[in-house]
């Protein structure tokens, strides 16, 4: 009998130990996946924050630019830069034949003459002189310089020719290739050229969408929550509403996208591809999340506070506005931020309302066409060019840091402003 008891006790301890082990391994697995994920994103993406420049001597030949002596600012603005741009690239190899000259031109970014123009606009005295100018390298050479390009592939399977590589290696040897922080990744809109593509358009698009979403979803959701929690009678009808709010929170986001497409675009004729429509669509999605969070935090306010206010002769409205709502605000706000963070990462509904369009301008208002960060990731991930691979990861890094900051903010609000009850 006694021995039996001891065996049983041992068994119970063993079971507990095993359970701990399961739990620990579950946490270990989760951390492992997270680490792999972050490492992968980071190792692919960090190089996108660097950009490769070719330093090429440019002869600002007034004749080639069809400029007279003492040109005005407007003349410089209107001058033809293509010829001197071409010449400066061709000068890298004076003996190049026509085909090779073409290849030389393709070693820099498509809009290289603009960079040369900027240089002259900055300093008009350069006219007639030669200066070494920083030109954005083509996305393929950018990848070569970052070591992401498989140089040992047979030439006909590469987008970079042996000839280009030869010239490039010469430039590198002469110290005429430089890597600098990629400012244009943050200031440029999207582009078909990977070396010029940036997140400014999608970043602003996301910000505008989130603001529109916040301005619609927050007041509506908070009012709905306050009414349901503090004023509405508890009957079948309000139960029905409650169930449906919970259902709404579980509706796949693409359905909301279809709603935006069918109602906002088709019936109300709102401008396509804009953060305005995106924000309204996202607000439909965020609404139930905020209502649920707001109701939960209203419920968490002890009834004794309401009783105290009512017994003092406060009206229901005063009780709610003076006591219950201020006390529930930290929870409501952090729920709102979590809801917005969800909306920020949402892709499917935005694709349906056309925010997937190629936008190469930076939106100045919610009425201008824009992309959004997650959609930008989707667009770039679809692109074939090697240069976009690192851009995808870099964009994910930006989006994730945005989300982490928002969630951190939610946590801080919750911990700092939440009242402790006696």
């Amino acid at each position: 009998m006694n021995k039996n008891k001891e065996q049983l006790l041992n068994k119970r301890y063993k079971a507990e130990q095993r359970f701990r082990l399961y739990g620990q391994s579950a946490i270990f697995m989760a951390l492992l996946f997270l680490t792999i994920f972050i490492f992968k994103i980071f190792s692919t993406g960090y190089s996108a924050f660097q950009k490769t420049w070719l330093i090429v001597p440019v002869n600002f030949d007034a004749e080639l630019m069809m400029l007279d002596e003492n040109p005005t600012k407007q003349d410089i603005e209107d001058a033809d830069y293509y010829e001197i741009a071409l010449q400066s690239m061709w000068n890298l190899d004076p003996n190049a034949n026509e085909d090779q000259q073409n290849q030389l031109k393709r070693m820099v970014s498509y809009f290289f003459e603009r960079e040369i123009k900027q240089e002259l606009l900055k300093d008009p005295n350069l006219l007639g002189k030669t200066k070494e100018v920083y030109l954005t390298a083509s996305d393929d050479l950018d990848q070569v310089f970052k070591g992401n390009y498989p140089r040992d592939l047979p030439e006909d399977q590469r987008r970079v020719s042996d000839y280009q590589l030869k010239i490039f290696d010469q430039l590198v040897a002469n110290g005429n290739v430089e890597s600098k922080f990629n400012i244009s990744f943050f200031t440029n809109a999207d582009s078909r050229e990977a070396e010029l593509a940036g997140i400014a358009s999608s970043f602003m698009g996301s910000i505008f969408s989130i603001l529109v979403c916040l301005m619609i979803a927050f007041p509506v959701a908070v009012l709905a929550a306050i009414y349901l929690e503090e004023f509405a009678p508890k009957n079948r009808f309000t139960d029905f509403i409650e169930v449906n709010i919970n259902n709404l929170a579980a509706v796949p986001s693409i359905v909301f996208g279809l709603l935006g497409l069918g109602v906002l675009l088709a019936i109300f004729q709102l401008p396509r591809s804009t953060p305005l429509v995106g924000g309204i669509t996202l607000s439909l999605m965020t609404l139930p999340t905020i209502i649920i969070a707001a109701r939960a935090s209203l419920k968490a306010v002890p009834p004794s506070i309401r009783e105290a206010a009512l017994a003092m002769g406060a009206s229901r409205m005063q009780t709610t506005m003076h006591h219950t709502v201020p006390l529930s605000m930290p929870g409501t706000l952090s729920g709102t931020i979590i809801g917005l963070a969800q909306a920020l990462g949402e892709t499917a509904p935005l694709i349906l309302i056309g925010m997937v369009a190629f936008v190469n301008t930076i939106p100045g208002s919610p009425m201008d066409p824009a992309a959004s960060l997650p959609v930008q990731i989707y667009i770039w991930a679809e692109s074939a060019e090697r240069g976009f691979v690192e851009k995808v990861s870099a964009c994910i890094m930006v989006l994730l840091s945005f989300l982490i900051i928002m969630n951190l903010f939610a946590q801080i609000i919750r911990h700092k402003f939440e009242k402790k009850w006696s």
Partner: protein
């Protein structure tokens, strides 16, 4: 209190029935409450004494399924009438709850809340005076006068309950309802509150629900004994405790049940 030998009746309850949904919680309660006296309501748990207390300032309105029938006359005005304004009523009838429930705000804001919403004070100075006198009457002033702008939730349990009393008397109510005000407090804090109740009855009519028969005997002049939703007996505390008419009252007082 007697005027010319006649008892002054402040509250007159006539045939009060209370229902929670279909379940009846109070049966036919008729009870007179004397002005400027302490009336204790005693009885075992679930007997309906708190429910009755909450009828007097219509706090049962908050509960959707609760319905009250019968007449409750305060100053000869039926508070269950449609014409009765609850906000006005609760200004006249303050309440102190079982668990201290100060607002999570400063002491000053706690006490000034009632006068603010009812527009009692005309100036900041007047408000300061109201806060000071209320806290003095609640015997809390000396302990907190240097930290009026600290949160009320930082006080001890007994201090919190006195703060709640100060909050209740800040609007100069005619009646104060107390729902087991000492059940969450230690004996010393309880003694302080009981002393306070004795002091308050000079200006207010007090009705106190209590579990402790000793407390009822100590603080009250009149006592009503509730059992299973019925008012079994009521009268002067002396009589109820020493020479009750009803056998059940006798049994409860002597601790045979409850």
């Amino acid at each position: 209190m007697r005027k010319n030998g006649v008892k002054m009746i402040k509250i007159k309850a006539k045939d009060v029935d209370v229902f929670y949904g279909k379940k009846q919680a109070l049966f036919n309660i008729s009870l007179d409450i004397e002005e400027n006296q302490v009336t204790a309501l005693i009885g075992p748990s679930g007997c309906g004494k708190s429910t009755f207390l909450r009828c007097l300032n219509r706090m049962n309105d908050v509960i959707d399924i609760c319905s009250v029938k019968g007449e409750i006359l305060i100053n000869d005005f039926n508070i269950n009438d449609k014409g009765c304004d609850v906000v006005r009523l609760r200004e006249k009838i303050g309440m102190v709850f079982q668990k201290p429930n100060p607002f999570p705000k400063t002491l000053y804001e706690n006490v000034s809340y009632g006068p603010t919403i009812h527009g009692i004070a005309q100036s900041k100075q007047e408000m300061d005076e109201i806060v000071e006198t209320s806290l003095k009457k609640a015997a809390l002033w000396e302990e907190v006068k240097d930290r009026l702008h600290e949160p009320g939730t930082g006080l001890s349990g007994g201090q919190q309950q006195r703060l709640c009393i100060a909050r209740a008397i800040s609007v100069r109510p005619e009646v104060i309802l107390m729902d087991e005000p000492c059940s969450a407090l230690d004996p010393i804090a309880t003694a302080q509150i009981e002393e306070l109740i004795d002091e308050l009855k000079k200006e207010h009519t007090i009705i106190i629900v209590t579990h402790s028969m000793a407390q009822a005997a100590r603080v009250s002049q009149n006592t009503g004994f509730f059992h299973l939703g019925q008012l079994i007996e009521h009268g002067s505390t002396d009589k109820i405790f020493k020479n009750p008419d009803n056998k059940k009252t006798q049994d409860y007082i002597t601790g045979r049940f409850g």
